[in-house]
Amino acid sequence: MGVSSRTETAIGMAYATTFVMTLASLLSYLVNTYILAPLGLEYLTTMAFILVIAVVVQFTEMVVHKTSANLYRLLGIFLPLITTNCAVLGVALLNIYEQHNFFESIIYGFGASAGFSLVLIMFSAMRERLANADIPSPFKGSAIAMITAGLMSLAFMGFTGLVKF
């Protein structure tokens, strides 16, 4: 919501999230396989992963701040908020759940974030177009964005059954 009002920020966010997700699934795999599993501490995965994600996000924030101060400013609070993006933790946990190996984990994390990025960027392009639309005032801003998201999910229903597990 916060970053999807302009394509520019959405693309920045997409990069950041992709980076975080891929790195997080990599690290969480390592942590799980080489630290937690040997010690029989699997019940700590969630906690450890949150730690991992927080660290990766912090790291990303620093990198972004260094490399692109402009993007850093545009993303603002939303950059650290990647931490709370459930998808990141979800991917990390699913990796364990589905018992992916090292490369599968990375690919899975990358794929999930690529999908997230695609939708985010598409959504932002739509919102940019909507910014100029003559929307009734009660629906301006977030309201119409939510409706749009709803309609988008309708469209994505078309992929039902496309993926065979």
């Binding site: 177009r129 910014a131 100029n132």
Partner: protein
């Protein structure tokens, strides 16, 4: 490059993107010869008729001028003069509506023709080929020739290019519907036009001369071909009719396939373009020494009975033209200067014909209907298909409506040539061009403002620097002067001695004064600001200072000192809550202190303080209290003697707070009652304070507390159910006891002066906590209620 010429010879041209075919409507005037009009009664000559600068006036009101006499001159390179179109008298020089879409008023010369049409002395030149380039240029410039196609760019500037020119393109396309001025000019005066082209050729020395003409003017093409039969370097290029092929960039693309980069001028690509009418004017000026005082103007439209091309003197009011062509106006009649695609409507007929006026259009209601209503854009993209600049008009439109300037610039708004093709095809009838114009004007304005802001910033910074420098310089000067004086004094002369003694006396005086005041302003210098009694804080500061003085006067009495210290503290506390609430009180305190009666003061303080504390309990946040702490600490540091007593007093504070808390616990009724009770408590405390001496505090206070508790619980019994009240009372009692214990403990701590500060801070923290607790509880209760 030969290939371009080869292609042209084969009549193969390039195409520009888009373009439209609006109804041409040239038949209205194209078969009628150019008519010469009688002299109008009055001529209105705007001083500026071209892009650039207006010249300086050479004449004044009342002067008699001859035909062809220059009226303005300027040394500015972008300025060309204007000339008197006929002989006559200048009747006025005033602001008048000019030929511009804005219909703004600009300075104009009014000439009343005398009917004689007397020429100034002319210098007819029969063989221009013998003249030097600079002479020719000077002539073109002096004749006041500027582009007659639309923009009005001074011609000699264009011709005086230093770049190597490959193509000189003569724009005879005349793609706008209705207009036939150039067409007729070519039909009737092709040889003169070709002379003009040759003059330009001589100056510019291009490799090729191309005349671009649309294929809907066969007669003009024929006339041109005849006139250029023997001239190999001139090629007449017949291009397909399509709007806007007469646009500079478009014509260049059609003929040469080249694109002029955005923001660049054609000469950077080795191309110069001139209009046919301009060529005619050049020939007229160079050969016949006739400055630009007349032009062919198409007066057309079905709203006229006699539409025709006319030789119009510059300055002829449009009204006169319309009269001559017999306008029969209808409701909502528009008079358009220029063509139907790019022209602009005139607000009145008083607007004069100027150098760029190639058409005056008076359409009937049927031809051009009135404003059709705009509906929403459906993104059909037809506008993008016809845009000759390959812009995205629909997206520009969204951004223009949303005033998203950044996006507009990203979409290259400034490459729009305002040809109107997009608005012409728009099925939703959106006046697209109008939106772009507004957008452009806004962006331009904005840039202007930005430039101005930058300038202002620089000036501001410069000024600041200067002021600083001045100040330093002044100080330096003073210092030097002082040194000089010192040196003089030391030199031992009588005068010097006198001076020295004078200075010494003055110094002594100052010192004495300082000594006097130093007692009163020992800790801070806020008394300096005493001149501003309005400021409550400063008033408080003064009051503080006064109180201090007072304290010094009665130093012996430690009790009173304590009281005074409390005053100071009360004031400090007064400062801490939100200012607007405290202002009144502060001034009150100030007034009270000014009276300097110790007892009264003490009482007042007590009231004040309790009030303030109550207030803190009610509204200030914890950090306010901590702020108070820091100030308190400061004062404490300076008044080290009174520390022990102050701490003791702070216990009272704490107690008061706790009492409030207790009371709040026990009270189940509403706030107003609580307030009255508070007041009672305050009174009690005040009494207690008045009585108490530093060492017997604890016992007494506990007693007092108990009393208060009894009181409050009794009050409660009468209002709330007795059980609750009893329980509350018990709790209160317990708390009071605990409190007393605490206070005792704290007192023992107080005996150690080293840890005083930390202890005090701790205690204050506890007060803050208590306050917060009380607040929370109160809120809870309110919610419950």
């Amino acid at each position: 490059m030969e290939s371009i010429i080869n292609r042209i010879d084969k009549n193969q041209f390039w195409k520009f993107h888009g373009g439209i075919h609006p109804p041409e409507q040239k038949f209205i005037t194209e078969n009628k010869p150019i008519r010469t009009l009688p002299l109008p009664k009055e001529l209105i000559l705007p001083l500026q008729q071209h892009i650039g600068q207006a010249g300086d006036l050479l004449v004044s009101v009342g002067d008699t001028v001859l035909k062809g006499q220059p009226l303005t001159s300027s040394a500015h390179p972008m300025a060309v003069p204007i000339h008197a179109p006929t002989s006559g008298k200048i009747t006025a020089i005033k602001d008048s509506t000019i030929a511009h879409p804005s219909a703004l008023k600009e300075p104009c010369l009014f000439i009343e023709p005398d009917g004689n049409d007397t020429w100034v002395k002319r210098n007819i030149c029969n063989d221009y080929t013998k003249q030097s380039d600079s002479d020719l240029l000077q002539k073109i410039s002096d004749a006041g020739i500027s582009g007659m196609g639309g923009a009005g760019f001074p011609t000699y500037v264009k011709a005086n290019t230093s770049a190597k020119i490959e193509f000189l393109i003569i724009n005879a396309a005349e793609c706008e519907p209705y207009i036939t001025a150039d067409d007729l000019l070519m039909k009737e005066h092709s040889p003169t036009i070709v002379d003009g082209i040759n003059i330009l050729h001589q100056i510019i020395k291009p490799e090729n001369v191309l005349i671009g003409i649309e294929d809907n003017k066969p007669a003009a093409i024929k006339a041109l071909q005849n006139a250029t039969k023997n001239l190999d370097h001139i090629r007449v290029c017949i291009i397909p009719t399509k709007y806007p092929s007469g646009g500079e960039k478009q014509l260049i693309q059609i003929l040469t396939g080249k694109e002029i980069p955005s923001g660049a001028i054609p000469s950077s690509q080795g191309i110069v373009m001139q209009n046919t009418a301009t060529c005619f004017a050049i020939a007229d000026a160079v050969i016949n020494d006739i400055p630009l005082i007349r032009r062919v103007t198409t007066v057309t439209g079905l709203g006229l009975n006699k539409p025709q091309n006319v030789w119009a003197l510059l300055g002829t009011p449009v009204n006169f033209l319309l009269e001559q062509c017999e306008l029969h106006p209808h409701d909502k009649q528009r008079i358009i200067m220029g063509g139907p695609m790019m022209g602009f409507t005139l607000p009145s007929g008083n607007v004069p014909v100027v150098k760029i006026t190639n058409c005056v259009l008076a359409p009937s209601a049927k031809e051009i209907s009135d404003e059709s209503t705009e509906v929403e854009c459906i993104r059909c993209g037809q506008c993008a298909d016809v845009c000759p600049a390959q812009l995205l008009p629909q997206e520009l439109q969204w951004s223009a409506k949303a005033k998203d300037h950044q996006q507009l610039e990203t979409l290259n708004l400034f490459d729009c040539i305002e040809c109107g093709a997009c608005a012409y095809v728009c099925p939703s009838h959106i006046p697209l061009v109008h939106y772009y114009r507004i957008g452009k004007a806004e962006i331009r304005e904005h840039k202007q403002q930005e430039i101005k802001a930058d300038k202002a910033k620089i000036r501001f910074e410069a000024r600041k620097l200067r002021l600083e420098r001045d100040k330093k310089a002044r100080e330096e000067k003073q210092r030097k002067a002082a040194e000089a004086r010192k040196a003089k004094m030391n030199s031992g002369t009588v005068e010097a001695n006198n001076e020295m003694s004078a200075v010494a006396a003055a110094l002594a005086r100052v010192k004495a004064k300082k000594a006097q005041t130093s007692d009163t302003t020992s800790q801070d210098s806020t008394t300096e600001a005493a001149a501003k009694p309005k400021n409550p804080q400063i008033a408080a500061a003064i009051a503080r200072a006064k109180a201090k003085k007072l304290a010094n006067q009665v130093t012996d009495n430690s009790d009173i000192t304590a009281e005074v210290d409390k005053t100071v503290e009360a004031k400090v506390e007064n400062e801490t809550p939100t200012e607007n609430t405290a202002d009144d009180k502060k001034s009150k305190v100030a007034a009270a202190i000014a009276k300097a009666k110790a007892k009264k003061l003490a009482k007042e303080q007590a009231d004040e303080k309790t009030d303030v504390q109550n207030e803190i309990t009610e509204e200030t946040a914890v950090n306010d209290v901590s702020e108070a702490d820091s100030k308190k600490a400061k004062i404490a540091a300076t008044i080290a003697k009174a520390k022990a007593k102050k701490l003791a007093k702070e216990q009272v504070d704490e107690k008061t707070d706790d009492q409030n808390e207790i009371k709040e616990e026990t009270t189940v009724n509403d706030v107003s009652e609580a307030d009255s009770k508070k007041a009672k408590i305050a009174a009690t405390i005040a009494k207690a304070k008045a009585k108490k001496l530093a060492k017997e505090q604890v016992d007494e206070k506990t007693d007092d507390q108990n009393e208060i508790i009894e009181e409050t619980s009794v009050n409660d019994v009468s209002e709330a159910d007795s059980k609750k009240a009893k329980i509350a009372a018990t709790i209160a009692k317990a708390k009071a006891k605990k409190l007393a214990k605490e206070q005792e403990a704290e007192k023992s701590d107080n005996s150690q002066p080293d840890v005083e500060d930390t202890k005090a801070a701790e205690k204050k923290k506890r007060i803050a906590e208590a306050v917060a607790k009380a607040k929370a509880k109160k809120q809870q209760r309110l919610e419950l209620n």
